[in-house]
């Protein structure tokens, strides 16, 4: 599964309408326009700070990897972007996050609309205990799509996008939980894609999968580039290197997570500007 990193990291502006196949042909890459702007973000649980002073811009259509040791606030950071932090009792965040110009931290914000725009994939595949079809159809219906043919079309397109269509087309009504781990994770991605988000958050999407399934999902993530802004948490440095355009390195100092370094993936790995980063990416203190 080695890919030509050079090709993947090259950037060009895409035409306004494109399909996945365009991207697969290697036509384009991400654009240096900020999609998510984070300013001075801090997160605390029950008054105890876990993440402080994070500021970074995440570019449109690019894959940004968040790396760093466990417990340094990467997942907390990810959860602020779709306000999933609201669900965690005692969780409080400060600072500003702008997505498409709107302030995510605004308490009056329509959270449901935000989450529809910002999809999320979890570490452990979490398809609902419903049929494969219902897993994708149900959120669509809840977001107001009721036309049978339109739903069927979207279900098929989402499943095709994640390469699951051929595998499950004959058993769409079978329980989703009967799928293998890798298939479940791809279904979760399809479920998110069906809502046509512009941003995808991925929290270690491959860590619960076997190497083969992991490789399939990784390849899928590569294909999402350009069409979606992807933010991915990963502990697999090689994977980050393979898939990401940008990388952000988090580290814990005095029990509080901080953003140490952020930049182009290649430069962060090959010529880190910070000692901690250098040590981590070369495996000395990782």
């Amino acid at each position: 599964m080695m890919h030509d990193t050079k090709k993947l990291l090259s950037c060009a502006v895409l035409p306004t309408s494109y399909t996945l196949s365009d991207i697969e042909q290697g036509a384009a890459c991400c654009v240096p326009i900020p999609h998510i702007q984070v300013e001075n973000l801090s997160v605390s649980y029950h008054g105890k700070s876990v993440l402080e002073g994070v500021s970074l811009d995440i570019n449109k259509g690019c894959i940004t990897a968040l790396i760093g040791p466990s417990g340094c606030g990467k997942t907390s950071f990810l959860s602020t972007l779709n306000r999933l932090t609201d669900l965690i009792p005692g969780c409080h965040m400060q600072g500003r996050i702008h997505i498409d110009g709107a302030d995510v931290t605004d308490p009056r914000l329509d959270v449901l609309a935000l989450r529809r725009k910002v999809g999320m994939i979890f570490q452990k595949p979490n398809p609902f205990p419903l049929s494969i079809r219902r897993n994708i159809e149900m959120p669509l219906r809840e977001h107001g799509l009721s036309q049978r043919s339109a739903i069927d079309e979207r279900v098929e397109r989402a499943l095709r996008d994640v390469g699951l269509w051929e595998e499950v087309r004959d058993r769409l009504d079978a329980p989703a939980l009967a799928l293998s781990g890798g298939q479940q994770q791809r279904l979760c991605i399809a479920r998110a894609l069906a809502l046509e988000p512009s941003i995808l958050l991925m929290d270690e999407p491959c860590s619960a999968l076997d190497p083969i399934a992991s490789a399939v999902v990784e390849e899928l993530i590569q294909r999402l580039r350009n069409r979606y802004t992807v933010v991915i948490v990963t502990h697999n440095l090689a994977q980050a290197r393979r898939v990401a355009n940008y990388a952000a390195f988090f580290w814990m100092t005095e029990h509080v997570g901080k953003l140490i370094e952020f930049g182009r993936c290649q430069s962060l790995f090959d010529s880190p500007s910070h000692d901690l980063t250098a040590a981590y990416v070369t495996g000395i203190s990782g």
Binding site: L112, R115, F122, P129, S131, E142, L172, R191
Partner: protein, 282 residues
């Protein structure tokens, strides 16, 4: 080898476990076979549909079966929506003062003797609300008794639903109601069904509370505002008040047990169909 010292104690454990299970099953077969032996002579189809005669010694239990089912129906109609609503409230907004006080009063109510519920139902439904001795009063009183059981087990089921699903639903931008309806309630279905069965068992077994609310009349009820005798009240009356009513009492007890099995199965499959239909069909 390490193994030998464990052999004897392992064997002892195996014997203890088998012995306990056998003891439990044996005791119950004793009970059930006694019931069957005494009651089976009274059972036939006509007894299920005909009316009791001679204070229940002769005749059947048709009207009593109908009343029992109606009382249970009213109780369930009340318990399920109220119970689900409360359980959802308790599990989703659990930190409020209202939630805390409800939870405490539920626990307290679990310890109130059923006869007190009977007197309560009599005072509130029969007299104050003017429903009189009626199937409605009985059902509503039973609902009060079933609510604590049903709410607590449903709440436990909802709380036990994996957070991954909760977060997954939220991440898809689903409303809380949609997450509940499509994911949390179906996922909690086994616990809800179990709570439902426990409640139904309690309702069918209840005697003291019903004597004071749904009453003693063994006529076929015309409406929900008629008084109707429940099967358990019938059994109690036959065994304690009616001279020579023992055999009929055992017969009625057998019917009650069969009824319980049937209702449990129906409830289980209905709950299954209702709550997890989306798993099997589209």
């Amino acid at each position: 080898m390490l193994k030998n010292p464990y052999r004897l104690s392992d064997l002892l454990m195996t014997i203890t476990v088998w012995f306990s299970a056998a003891l439990v099953v044996g005791a119950f077969f004793w009970l059930l076979s006694d019931l069957a032996l005494h009651g089976i002579a009274k059972l036939n189809w006509s007894c299920l549909v005909s009316a009791p005669e001679n204070a229940g010694r002769d005749g059947g239990i048709g009207p009593i079966l109908v009343s029992t089912l109606l009382i249970l129906g009213v109780a369930l109609l009340m318990t399920i929506p109220l119970g689900l609503g409360t359980a959802v409230y308790l599990s989703e907004y659990s930190s409020g003062a209202l939630a805390r006080s409800i939870r405490m009063s539920l626990d307290v109510l679990a310890g109130v003797p059923s006869i007190v519920f009977g007197l309560f139902g009599n005072a509130l439904f029969c007299i104050w609300l003017g429903l009189g001795f009626s199937i409605l009063s009985g059902g509503l009183t039973l609902a009060c008794m079933m609510l604590p059981i049903f709410i607590r087990s449903t709440e436990a089921g909802l709380t036990a639903v994996a957070t991954e699903w909760r977060h997954g639903a939220a991440a898809l931008g689903l409303t809380q109601a949609a997450a509940l309806w499509h994911v949390l309630l179906p996922a909690a279905a086994p616990a809800i069904t179990a709570g439902l069965m426990l409640s139904i068992g309690r309702a069918l077994a209840e005697t003291a509370a019903l004597i004071f609310t749904s009453g003693y009349v063994d006529r076929m009820p015309d409406s929900l505002s008629d008084s109707g005798r429940a099967l358990s009240v019938h059994i109690y009356d036959l065994s304690m008040n009616v001279t020579g009513g023992d055999q009929s009492a055992y017969g009625a007890a057998l019917v009650l047990i069969v009824l319980l099995v049937v209702i449990n199965n129906v409830a289980a499959s209905l709950a299954d169909r209702f709550l997890s239909q989306r798993i099997t069909t589209s």
